[in-house]
Symmetry: C2
Subunit: 455 residues, 2 copies
């Protein structure tokens, strides 16, 4: 079954055109970037506004304010009622949403192409003219607290990740949870939200991405009409977050929680991103992630631990190449029944040692190269995927040229590149290893010591 799907992908890849879309970029007089991606296959447009502001731009002690503000942006303005954006988009048959990450906050609509100006009217309006009441704050703060409860506090795995990131990043705000520390979220107020809004929600801090069945000249004319009159924020400097010192000691932690049904071991390493390293380096890490954990049947960890040794029910890796500053490379093992986390971790490390010793299987490498190419082609085949790609890149320190070059950079990676980058990234001193366990599986605890001794 897996082989069949793989064969299908290969076929499609050879049929699809490599880069059909035209991309235009312009900067308005007030500093706003405008990127237009033509795609006339359907009479639809994706309209996105990306702000160069996210969780890592929050003032100390105000964690969660970027995400909180994202929620609040659906309240009223001088010209709109609360909830009007959602209502108008729905009434016009479109869909919309927003998200916050460490380096950016984005608002987007997908709608019939002839409604583009309506979207611009609303998005331009809420860029500078948001009105927040104390009641808005109170209501929406409860919503984000509930969101934290659901996504983080009720999830031991999310809690472990939160504690691990706090230990991994000793200085950089990527160590602070995006949703916010609960005790700080509880204190976020109207002035915190408005201060963040006034500073960062401005045309000279925004990227407009329009993708779909549009004419670039018309889009730029509309952008000038609606976004052009907005006032930029004075004195806004390029973002410069506190950087990481050299990490000197491998860190480990164990989170013990009653709710853990399935223990696992996970390790996070600090890794360069496309913006902080060369793109070539980031591309090699994409391969490393695929090679180690991409697919159960063929990846190094999957094949060895799940299939050959039957030590694991699953293995995983993860790498986010897009980040303004350093990012994280993750790997982990969910052990099979009767296998300890120590055994699982040792087996994981043994496979990595073997990779360094024996090198990379050329056949496996070629399969990954093809899969990466296929993924890229698929992503480019949707207006939304393309808009995402450009918006995210331009708000994480990359240029249009970097985006355009990326597919070729990915295809140029060699097995030697992967081994070189693995040696650089997979350093124990750059890592935090976490164990997620249930109490019955953990060493029994007494106050003052991790092991009960002498009883």
């Amino acid at each position: 079954m897996k082989r069949l799907i793989f064969a299908c992908i290969l076929t499609l890849v050879s049929v699809l055109p490599a880069a059909a879309q035209e991309v235009t970029d312009t900067v308005l007089d007030n500093g706003m970037d405008v990127v237009v991606i033509e795609d006339h296959r359907a009479p639809v447009v994706v309209h996105m506004v990306w702000y160069r502001a996210g969780g890592a731009d929050e003032p100390a002690g105000k964690s969660g304010i970027a995400h909180f503000l994202e929620h609040l942006l659906f309240k009223g303005t001088d010209d709109m009622e609360p909830g009007e954006v959602h209502r108008v988009v729905a009434e016009n048959g479109g869909s919309n949403n927003a998200f916050t990450s460490y380096d950016q906050t984005a608002y987007f609509e997908r709608i019939a192409a002839d409604r583009l100006e309506l979207m611009m009217t609303m998005e331009a309006d809420r860029m500078r003219d948001l009105i927040l009441t104390e009641e808005d704050i109170k209501t929406e703060r409860d919503v984000i607290l509930e969101e934290r409860a659901t996504r983080t506090d009720n999830s031991p795995g999310a809690l472990l990740n939160e504690q691990m990131q706090a230990a991994l990043f000793m200085n950089h705000p990527y160590g602070t949870p995006l949703i916010g520390w609960r005790h700080e979220m509880e204190t976020l107020n109207r002035e915190d939200a408005m201060a963040f809004y006034r500073k960062y929600y401005a045309p000279n801090n925004a990227v407009l991405v329009v993708a779909g069945d549009v004419d670039p000249d018309e889009v730029i004319a509309l952008a000038k009409k609606h976004y052009g009159p907005l006032e930029p924020t004075e004195g806004l400097e390029p973002r410069a977050r506190p950087l990481e010192p050299v990490p000197l000691a491998p860190r480990r932690m164990t989170l013990t929680d009653d709710r853990v049904g399935q223990p696992y071991v996970i390790r996070n390493y600090i890794a360069p991103s496309r913006a902080t390293g060369a793109q070539e380096e980031a591309a090699a890490i994409v391969y490393l992630s695929e090679l180690l954990g991409g697919s159960s049947a063929t990846s190094i960890l999957g094949r060895a631990l799940e299939f050959d040794q039957k030590l694991a029910v699953s293995t995983f890796t993860g790498y986010s190449a897009e980040a303004l500053d350093l990012t994280t490379f993750t790997m982990g093992v969910v052990p099979a029944q009767g296998v300890t986390l120590e055994e699982a971790e040792a087996a994981m490390d043994a496979e990595i040692a073997r990779m360094f010793e024996e090198g990379i299987d050329p056949e496996q490498f070629e399969r990954i190269k093809t899969r990466i190419r296929a993924n890229d082609v698929y992503a480019r085949d949707s207006a939304r995927g393309l808009a995402n790609r450009y918006g995210r890149a331009l708000t994480t320190g990359l240029t249009l040229e970097d985006v355009k070059a990326w597919p070729d950079v990915l295809q140029a990676v060699t097995p030697e590149d992967v081994l070189a980058v693995a040696e650089k990234v997979l350093q124990p001193t750059h890592s935090v290893t976490g164990y997620l366990v249930a109490p019955s599986l953990a060493p029994s605890l007494t106050p003052g010591g991790e092991e009960e001794v002498g009883q």
Copy 2:
């Protein structure tokens, strides 16, 4: 020998008066606190200016600026040449110095009582009129970088401590090294120093402490004359640093360094301070520290690990009760030849478990109580010790009443209080455990794994 010294202390304690000194406190119109401690036994005065600003008040990305500025305060002003403070103090037969900590920066002189006004003239001058040249910055930045090299980078133990504190404090700036991260120290500039100076070096952010052979009325008159005309900083809010989230996972780390001659295990717990907890709680932690690690011959860890079991060459504990926010409780073991760090740690934890099981030896407790009283009496017997005590307390969120009550609070602690606070503080989830090892003693490392497997 130890017993003999102990007997002497007991004798002295009964001879010395309990609280001979008069303490006066005043607030000048510009907000400056003035504390005068009369002590006429010698014709000497200690003159101290304490600022409510330290390492934990630094802007993100500017670590080390508080300490850097302390160095720079010995440069020139509109009225003084660079180095003039040192020269004038020395020419008048006095001594002077300064220090920076997380919550305060202090400048002090000890000199003949009739030179007090001269000290005030200089200290008031440099509170608002500092002049820094680019050359000052360049020269002194090299000095602090060299200080970091000597004290931290050349000391594996200091490096381990730095990495442990960064992991212990997930959110609070106490996790940032006071000396600064090297990569940030290298970028500190004149504007960084002046911004910190202008904000925090102001009468409404300072405590003047004068102790010695002085008349309070005269001191206050002089303070009004010299410090009274200084402009306060407008809009200075009480300090509110980011607080810690609930820690959920015990953390561990191993620092491996060629230069390690003597490996050891050390554990830091987050603990309340006199300001964040009740003073009663902090007082009980002072006992806990003494009880576990105060003296090799009689402490729980010393007696068991060094004398009975011969597993350790030394054991130690540490607790700083004075902190504006949460502080750290430390314990550790330097193992004897042939004893592993794992064995040393297990033995340490076993003794703590035994303390919870068997309770506290009443005789040992009484000895500690006497020693704490003796230490207190000694500290109060020097003008400098008293000035320090008041200055530090008033810049870490305590009041004069707290300072006056502290000796009695300490004497009121019971063994039950100590066990209760031990149960609260010595929680594994609140801790980071560090191993300091030489490469020959560490598990061998390969890229990608902590253990070399399969070779």
